[in-house]
Amino acid sequence: MSRPGFVLEVDERTPALLMHEGEGFRLEKLPLGSRVVYPPESLPGLRDLDAHIREALLHPLGCEPLPELLHAGMRLTIVFDDLSIPLPQMKTPDIRQRIIEQVLEMAAAAGVDDVELIAGNALHRRMTPAELKRTVGERVFRSFFPHHLRNHDAEDRANLTEIGTTKHGEVVEINKRAATSDLIVYVNVTLTAMSGGPKSVSVGLASYRSLKHHHNVHTLRHSRSFNDPPNSAMHHSYNRMAGVLDEHVKIFQIETSVNNDTFPTQLGFLNKREWEWTLKDQAAYLAVKRANDLTPIKQRRQIWHRTAAPYGITSVTAGAPGPVHEVTMGHVLRQQLTEVNGPSDIGIWGLPYICPYNVNSIMNPILMMSLGLGYFFNLYRGQPLVRPGGVAIYYHPVRNEFHPVHHPSYIDFYEEVLAETTDPVAIETKYEEQFATDPWYIHLYRNSYAYHGVHPLYMWYWGAHALEHLGQVIVVGGDRRTSERMGFRAASTLGDALEMAKEKVGGSPTITYQHTPPLSMADVR
């Protein structure tokens, strides 16, 4: 039986608590009285996963069983979430592989010849052949790559179709192959409450023309939070687009959720509550910490990115996107939600080495901002963990380092745009079109492995709500110049950070540390 999440109040018995900080971690003694939000313990994974997948496909919610939707002569498109989820990557075989294999078994039995597999990567970088193979498995890869297993190309005008327009004037434009298929089977991994459901096809297969309707500063500032779909303007937009899609294409959605087994056994202490660490956990902590600190950053990063999560799958649900997503959300919240009593003056987050956009890559400063002020700040329901005008303290080295292949437009954004302004509205107004339509960025997105030119701006918008809400952002252990460029302040220690925060929140602030990963979502009452 997994224990539910809870809020710890730091007292004199509380040992030093673990903080992630990029490709490393540390123990930090928090001031007495600080609150610490722990997620529920990892739920047990499903035992006979293949049987559960089969059961889901044969008994879907809100539509016919998959075999009844398959017939000879049809056009079938299987779309799957790209490498941005789950984080870290899961141990192979990936759940997407296991599902796609069963879908293909049924398609083969029904005599379907015209099958295409597309990664729903939207404006993300293309997945490399090795990454595709890891996700869908050797057998699928060998049968379909390269002609029928590919990445979505949001800049291939010839292969995009405008499906329609929502009543709010939002253009719904998606991948032509998918739009003209008799059936889209979407294979999803819902890691956080923001993913899956109406977002899957309307975002994963969309173009910039379509994405700009919800990936903008106004929408994101009115998504409170974007992990709480009923209160997220972004999800309202997804829902409208999904409504248009429903009228034109048939989608069979297969959603899965994972438990909180984020780190492998040898790093088991990262999954545990600190006062429950055994001697073995403590020895592992010291050994891993020391070895990690002594390893050069490049190798350290490689090791972390090679560390796959032994996730257990907590649900597999198939059928019509609406009812399926409702069930999946229940499982995600059951794993992540912890009730918290009111916001505090200061919020603390330890940022790990990975976010959705640096898998097998570098967490550059923009992505650090997107992870901290975007993803982690928005891991709430109700109200933010920090009061309006409060202070957010993050732990991250914020190195001035970029992956030149994956993030070319990020470099220019950092060097040129952030040097001038950090205001999301000003950035959107002045620079979005330039970055979105730059032919060189588009070329790199389509032919190399680069994120789309507009992507760094989206990352900045991702934190727009937090930037508006917070009075100050302090990064413990952050590079001073890089932090300053982004409008943050760098501190060497937590003590210094709390001292700096005094200007905004006074001398005896209330403090809440959201202990994540493993992922926790605060239900702030």
């Binding site: 224990r3 809870f6 809020v7 040992p15 030093a16 123990l27 429950e276 001697l279 403590q282």
Partner: protein, 304 residues
Amino acid sequence: MGLFREARVLTAGRDWRGRSRTPRSAAGHTPPDEPREFPTGWARTPAARVARRGLQRGLLTPLTWSQTRPEVVGLEGLAGVTGPVVLVANHASHLDTPLILGSLPEHIAKRTAVGAAADYFFDARWRAAATALVFNAFPVERYRSRRLRSLAPQLLARGWSLLLFPEATRSEDGWMSPLRMGAAQLCVTQRVAAVPVVLRGTYAAMPRGRNWPMRGRPRVVVRYGAPLKPEQGESARLFNVRLSQTVARLWAEEDMGWYASLRAQAGGDLALPSGPKAAEWRRMWESTRPVSRPGPAPAWRDGA
């Protein structure tokens, strides 16, 4: 941060075993203890048996006999006991086990294992090891809080007699509480005899909270009853009633003599001594009354 500094941060607030105290607000969120079965098989190896008998004969029994004045009654009933039996005793003091082990006939004592509370004697390894070696103890779950598999049937099957205290814990006030069903159930299912044992005066000699007997070598009485075999078809519940009645009679024998106690039992006048229904101090007062009798006990007191 250097390794030593890191280790210092890690170990701050933890004890020498690396355990941290649970923060108060996390107390309601601690996982239930995993049942950990402390292995006691080694304590029944020939080497451990030799060491144990040496410790018992050379140290424990002389020490117990030097600090108390034990009077052992009824051993003649055990002369014919050959196979394994379950010794069922009342429990009021840590003196009980050494007194029984020290007074049992050698042929039974050297083949007797003692059921000891898993949550008390087996919670720390050093205590578990010492208890297993000195008393040939094996863990017994008394509150069913965990689910350890009981070793008792296996031990009986291997020819070991068992000493069990079916009240589950030492008496709080020197009086007895009802016998739980475990020992009777064991006797009925394994078809072995129970030997009732009653200890008098041990509470007065060394009650709960004391770790050394009272001064003045207080008198204690160890009284063995004749072995009771479960009848064919007798249920554990009925056998437990019979066992309880015998224990009650042995207890009363100290006060009223053998024959009078037999008559009282036959008349249905005896029950387990649960003490007077009176204020707590009076119950305590009565139970700590020294057990003293100047002369030899008559077989019966009077014919009235």
